[in-house]
């Protein structure tokens, strides 16, 4: 199969769009881990909730954009509820307990969704503005994929500004480094954690919301996303937001090109990439000391 520059360019674009989903998921996971020291094993479940919430929101209001925003808000609130009622009680105990709580949630919630929405997947259509593709000679520029890339850039920029320029962002960064100190300064760390968790699952929900038109929207759709998100975070370095973003972009390209050149290795490629990077940089790309 000949690799014309058009095919390569298209693969890069598809890889960026793939990477966008990874980046959204991994950023959320990284924030939660960095701030709360919790490996959110239910991250994929919130991704799924994002997709379903989008479906519900669009059914109610008919507009894709409103639907996505509503979905992210709804799922963030669900996340806050979960964190405040169940997860919070397990902080400070053995690191495994919050992890297991999230794991339990990841088994519990999909079945609830099955009961509410049934076994047939839901249809979320592409917004009319972004349907189809622009064709330039042999080059296909799918509008929705380009939207994903733009969205990712916007979200990353927003996250950066949020973390660096707002006071809440500063508190979150501080609490990530030294929660005791932040507490001593009179700030309610507990609330910071809830906000952090909401932000994290909100990003996961956004990933699910924008993925909904492209994949089958079923209750189990998030199961494998959790692991892939973890791979990205490990590649980037646990606790590093920038690492998660870079890791997501790298992985998107890897999967895109492996799918093209050796399809039966496409699923394995993410893990091989992780193994390779860990051999070269045992803490991941931007992993920090002491964040083991």
């Amino acid at each position: 199969m000949e690799l014309s520059w058009e095919i390569i360019l298209m693969q890069v674009i598809m890889g960026l769009a793939l990477g966008a989903i990874y980046v959204l998921l991994a950023s959320g996971l990284s924030i939660i881990f960095g701030l709360l020291d919790v490996l959110n094993f239910a991250h994929g479940t919130f991704y799924m909730l994002g997709a379903y919430a989008t479906f519900v929101a669009i059914s109610l209001c008919g507009n894709f954009w409103v639907g996505i925003i509503a979905a992210v808000v709804i799922v963030s609130l669900i996340g806050a509820l979960f964190e405040m009622t169940l997860l919070k009680r397990l902080y400070g105990t053995d690191q495994i307990y919050p992890l297991l709580m999230c794991f339990g949630l990841s088994i519990f919630l999909p079945d609830i969704i099955k009961m509410i929405f049934g076994l047939v997947g839901k249809v979320v259509d592409y917004p009319s503005l972004l349907q189809g593709a622009t064709f330039v000679d042999n080059l296909i520029l799918p509008k929705y994929r380009i939207f994903l890339v733009v969205l990712m850039a916007v979200v990353l920029l927003a996250l950066y500004l949020f973390m660096k320029k707002t006071s809440i962002g500063m508190i979150i960064r501080a609490a990530t480094r030294d929660r005791l100190m932040v507490n001593c300064l009179g700030i309610n760390v507990s609330r910071v954690w809830t906000v952090g968790f909401m932000l994290g699952v909100g990003l996961a929900a956004l990933a699910g919301a924008v993925a909904a038109p492209m994949v089958q929207t079923i209750p189990n759709m998030g199961d494998e996303m959790t692991i892939e998100a973890f791979v990205v975070v490990v590649i980037g370095g646990l606790g590093s937001l920038g690492g998660a973003a870079l890791g997501g972009l790298i992985l998107g390209q890897v999967v895109s090109f492996v799918s093209l050149l050796a399809p039966d290795w496409s699923n394995v490629s993410i893990f091989l990439t992780m193994a390779l990077i860990l051999v070269l940089r045992p803490r991941g790309l931007f992993g920090e000391e002491g964040r083991d």
Binding site: I96, M101, L105, F108, I227, V233, V268, V279
Partner: protein
Amino acid sequence: MNAKKQTNEVAAYKPHSWQTALEFRAMWAVLALGIVLPFLVSKPLATEIMIYALFALAFNLLLGHTGMISFGHAGYLGVGSYAGAMVVFYGGVGVWVSLLAAMAGGALVAAVVGLLAVKRKGAYFAMISLAIAQMLYFLALSPFKRWTEGEDSLKLPPLSVDFPFHLNLSDQTQLYFFVFVIVALAVLAQWRLLNSPFGHALKGIRENEDRIRACGFNITRIKFLSIIYSGLFSGLAGGLLAIYLGAASVTTLFWMTSGVVVMQTVLGGTHTFMGPFIGTMVFLYLRNNISNYTDRWEMWVGAMFMALILLFPEGIWGTVMQKIGERRRPSAS
């Protein structure tokens, strides 16, 4: 060499606590229960309970006794299962060689994980082990399909044991007792291991790694050995699984298998010896029966698990031991 001499010195002072005594009795009680188990529940379920209980004990070697969270134990189980099955399928060997191959397979994967991740703590170790196991799953599913048969499972011919006496493993009762004896021996071996100087060192690592390091122990080596042992016993469970099923299937490698063994272990109590065994019995039993009532059994299992984490984090056996402990010494916690 230094580490060994030191562990021996530590072991010279051997505290024989009431917990050890209680666990010892519990172990024999459970094994005795195992003799009659196939008559209480169905024989296939009893066989599965034995196999997965061994797996859970192997898993807890790392979690409860060394303090390392592994989310990739499916890798050891699965590779053990495939190793055992492949030597029979491609090599025509007997059951005993198959089990040895299974143990070797599990230990091999453990060695790889150990080399990549033994120095990592907590989260990293969990993630790396998970990723390796999932990678093995995808490898078995697609690129290595011509050896593993992928989705179709590697199916074995009818098996039998010829030494020391003949057993027809297609007979469900004989199969159960074959599995039971092997598991019982493995449990006893683990007991010896955990009550040896090595076992005490593991406990020290779990309680306070820095202090143990300060005493001059080679932490990395001990941890690495612990991972290998865990992989070895998990591989054995995998080999038994392949014999029981008559096939090696990719589901053993799927990450959910790792998740389930974590649940079973925590359900029983990770800070105990017999906890994982008891947890597996209860978990498999419940899961089997809840699904007779509803297809949505995962919801119930998930909910119960979350409740368990919140209210009884020590698990069934762990809480029981805790209560007994409180009764014995009401002043201490």
